[in-house]
Symmetry: C2
Subunit: 342 residues, 2 copies
DNA sequence: CTGAAAGCGCTTACAG
DNA sequence: CTGAAAGCGCTTACAG
């Protein structure tokens, strides 16, 4: 005995109202009625009835029957910067272009939330899972494999799935080279943010050191891998200043969140920045407006996601393979990048 | 070049492996086995088998059977600023706390995408739909009503659903009052961004004008409702400067995206800003570091979303009712605080 | 051209 | 205590 207030309009109601069989109604609703030689007049009646009833098929019932969910899942740490916001928006667009409904879960860099979110997405039978910026992609990769979900890593690669990443070493190398231009050969330098022993940070450090070597800079750089929190970056700068009596002439900032700490430090002590050049491995429109001598790099957000979908479309697994994308643009004028803002 | 054909593990496989009936397996899997007097030994066997098989129930099959999807939907324009990023993160947390899987769709302020996204969410049978920053909430509200989906508007209210919004008029009034402090009584003023005839913009304009009136400022303010695009705000400032020969002494910026345009304009012409005070109806950490004399307001993102869920939990419809929340914090750039207050 | 029927993977009232 | 069976709302091969 059902006693729901608004009872769902089902395909049965639709068929009844249109005076057709259920299958005819189904064929009309998903556009295959001509192929099934339903008469135009019948199709018309069904569409009319659907209109009047406000009928819309249940995506879940359809998915269950068809064995495919039409859902596309993605995991990111959060949405609070342009890199992740760009990834998720591109992901949404790519998913919709393929008739998939995007589901994005954020994990706040919390390892246990990561696995929980992955499990809920897998339980929804997502057809693809894009994993970005998690603590341990392998666990998620294996979970997906077990459940037959196609999984791809972005930003941080893993041995158990196909991965697509930015050329961290090359990008950091190029940034550092530009940073050192027009500075004295043995200028003091520093690297701020990220976590040592972490994939991206290590590679960026390598690129940073390589550029220093090539420039013949023999000064020991300050390497401050203080994590991603803005406050930690702020404090690291403060300590550095107190110990050395000055900030380094050239600073490579590893991630926009660390740059946030630098911005607040700059606001507190603008005079400490005179003659100082900064480069940042990421981009933000407001950050680019600060009157700090800064070069910003923008990762190829669109390319990263597009590559994931191309891999998905091709249907070939390529587990363990890593595609590396060059950072797209080195930004000195952010004005041309804000055009897609509304 | 191989595609693994992993057949889905169903509850039937689980029951078979554990040597129990399907219903027993089901009871064990969703934790109600004690209530159904399944022996501990049987439960143990089922859990063991589930572990070995990597069995996880299909959320969609369960949803279909139970008549509830455990999905929570939200619509936002995009994720590229702290206001919307904050809303979606709070929404995710609230949904997960209730055992719901969050699905967030962004629409890039495109009216036809808005309705498409709403339809896909409704087709997924979301149990609640939170609508923020769309062009026309009413259409979506009606769609939901027809399909029995509980719908709530955030930011922009509508007559057909419960709505929760920031106190736009009060916030703008307060911002403007602070803006005018220590400025001459008849200082030139301006309002930049948003769209005239739009709900939030009109109310903020009202608050702005009210504060001007109270201050006895009889100067005609420049009201530039140029939309939300940073480039439009930038151009509006440029035009204003050319026409008037100077920017107004006090500027209220309606939304952080318009402030982005102001930031780029400031970068191009910092000298135009001397003696100028700015207030912004939104907040961004980098924007707050710019050396512009700025007061920023932060909407109560947490409160807005929490109120939605409280309404959802209560189960009462309250269509047409509007709950208004005061902006939570007024953030002032500490760099500029020394001369003023605190 | 159209309809009756099986079945996707679950849950749960009911019978044993 | 446990199992057989109905049914959620669809799709589609198959029979008529």
């Amino acid at each position: 005995m059902k006693k729901s207030i608004t009872k769902r309009v089902t395909i049965r109601d639709l068929a009844q109202k249109a005076g057709t069989s259920i299958s005819a109604a189904s064929f009309v609703m998903n556009g295959s009625w001509e192929r099934h030689r339903i008469s135009a007049e019948t199709a018309q009646r069904v569409q009319q009835a659907a209109q009047e009833l406000g009928y819309q098929p249940s995506a879940r019932a359809r998915a269950l029957r068809q064995g495919r969910s039409s859902l596309a899942g993605m995991i990111v740490p959060h949405h609070r910067n342009r890199f992740f916001a760009g990834l998720t928006e591109q992901f949404e667009a790519g998913a919709r272009a393929r008739g998939l409904v995007p589901i994005i879960g954020s994990t706040q860099r919390n390892p246990s939330l990561e696995i929980t979110v992955a499990e809920t997405l897998v339980a929804q039978d997502v057809e693809i899972l894009v994993v970005a910026g998690v603590y341990d992609p392998s666990r998620i990769n294996r979970l997906c494999r077990k459940r037959g979900v196609r999984c791809v890593n972005v930003d941080l690669p893993g041995p158990d799935s196909f991965s697509v990443v930015t050329d961290n070493k090359g990008g950091a190398y190029e940034l550092t080279r530009r940073l050192l231009r027009s500075l004295p050969k043995d200028a003091t330098t520093g690297f701020l943010g990220g976590a040592s022993r972490e994939y991206a940070t290590e590679l960026r450090l390598e690129g940073f050191r390589k550029a220093l070597n090539e420039a013949g800079n023999t000064n020991n750089p300050a390497e401050l891998c203080c994590g991603y929190a803005p406050s930690a970056a702020h404090d690291a700068l403060e300590t550095l200043y107190e110990e050395a009596g000055a900030l380094p002439r050239a600073l490579l900032i590893n991630s926009i969140t660390a740059f946030e700490g630098l911005a607040t430090y700059w606001r507190d002590y603008p005079s400490h920045f005179s003659g100082l050049r900064v480069a940042c491995f990421d981009w933000d429109p407001f950050a680019a407006c600060l009157p700090i001598d800064t070069i910003m790099l923008r990762q190829d957000v669109e390319g990263l996601i597009d590559t994931c979908f191309e891999w998905f479309d091709a249907g070939v697994e390529r587990a363990g393979e890593i595609v590396m994308l060059p950072p797209q643009i080195t930004i000195e004028d952010p004005a041309n990048l804000t055009s897609n803002e509304k």
